[in-house]
Amino acid sequence: MENSKLSRRQFLGGTAAVAAASVLPAVTSAAPAVATPVTTYPDNSIQGASWIPLDPAAMARKGYEIIKGITGGGQSG
């Protein structure tokens, strides 16, 4: 009878093992890490013959409108 009793240390150890085992499935079933594509700049696909020239005046107007708060969404000065 005495032999079947668990010591306090054995009891706590067993409890910890059960707790760990209950968490393990959640850890092991998590989606495997997927490498996120890294966006690098400059993007060379726009260079060379494919380049579509920008209109300086149109861009300048946009810059003015942004800083004046007429057009939102862009970068400001």
């Binding site: 726009i46 920008l54 107007r61 810059g63 000065g77």
Partner: protein
């Protein structure tokens, strides 16, 4: 510009650049009056579009030596094709000044000096002495000028032209005189800590007299 590039090249990575990312630069970084916002955002744009340091150097050196604002924004509006800004239209013939620095503090300060402050003739005539509104007009037209230049630089780069930037003569003089890490000793303790702090900025008439 990044938005236009993203529109022109929808499969490129430029659509991933968040709009407003560089807005922190306004007023010389959150109104610290440090690096002018159009230099800050412009250099960032040049880097991620061209990846070329010469283009950035040419842009910043041009900013440092150019008198702003030109009358281009006003003339563009006055010709009648640009009605989006009617309520906040650029004013005609603002006083011009050369920043001699990339700092907002210096750039705007020199302009205020050139304009005569709140009592200046142009500020009085156009803005009834409201120097803050006058400054807003000046900075907006400066942005017009700078974005125009940025666009030209990008178009030229894409056409195969890489600029040879011309720095202010004081930069060379500083580097070779030993002020900041050239030959000779200005202050050995400074040289030991920061041997090349001179960089490319115009030295005289800005930090040093």
């Amino acid at each position: 510009m990044l938005g236009q590039i993203a529109e022109n090249f929808p499969s490129s990575s430029y659509a991933a650049v968040p709009k407003g990312l560089f807005n922190y630069g306004g007023g010389g970084v959150n109104t610290w009056r440090n690096l002018c916002g159009v230099c800050n955002g412009g250099a960032a744009m040049l880097k991620i579009v061209t990846g070329n340091g010469n283009v950035i150097d040419e842009y910043l050196a041009w900013y440092e030596r150019t008198a702003f604002p030109s009358n281009a924004a006003y003339e563009d509006w006055a010709e009648g094709g640009w009605t989006a800004v009617d309520a906040k239209a650029p004013k005609d013939r603002a006083p011009m000044s050369v920043a001699k620095s990339l700092l907002c503090h210096s750039s705007h300060g020199r302009w205020l000096e050139a304009a005569g402050g709140a009592e200046g003739a142009w500020v009085t005539a156009e803005f009834a002495g409201d120097v803050k509104a006058a400054g807003s007009d000046r900075c907006s037209k400066l942005v017009y000028d700078c974005v125009y230049k940025l666009t030209e630089l990008v178009n030229d780069f894409m056409a195969g032209t890489i600029p040879e930037p011309v720095f202010d003569p004081s930069v060379d003089a500083c580097l070779t005189s030993g002020c900041h890490g050239g030959a000779g000793g200005y202050d050995q303790a400074i040289l030991d800590r920061a041997p090349h702090v001179a960089g490319k900025m115009k030295c005289d008439e800005s930090c040093h007299q």
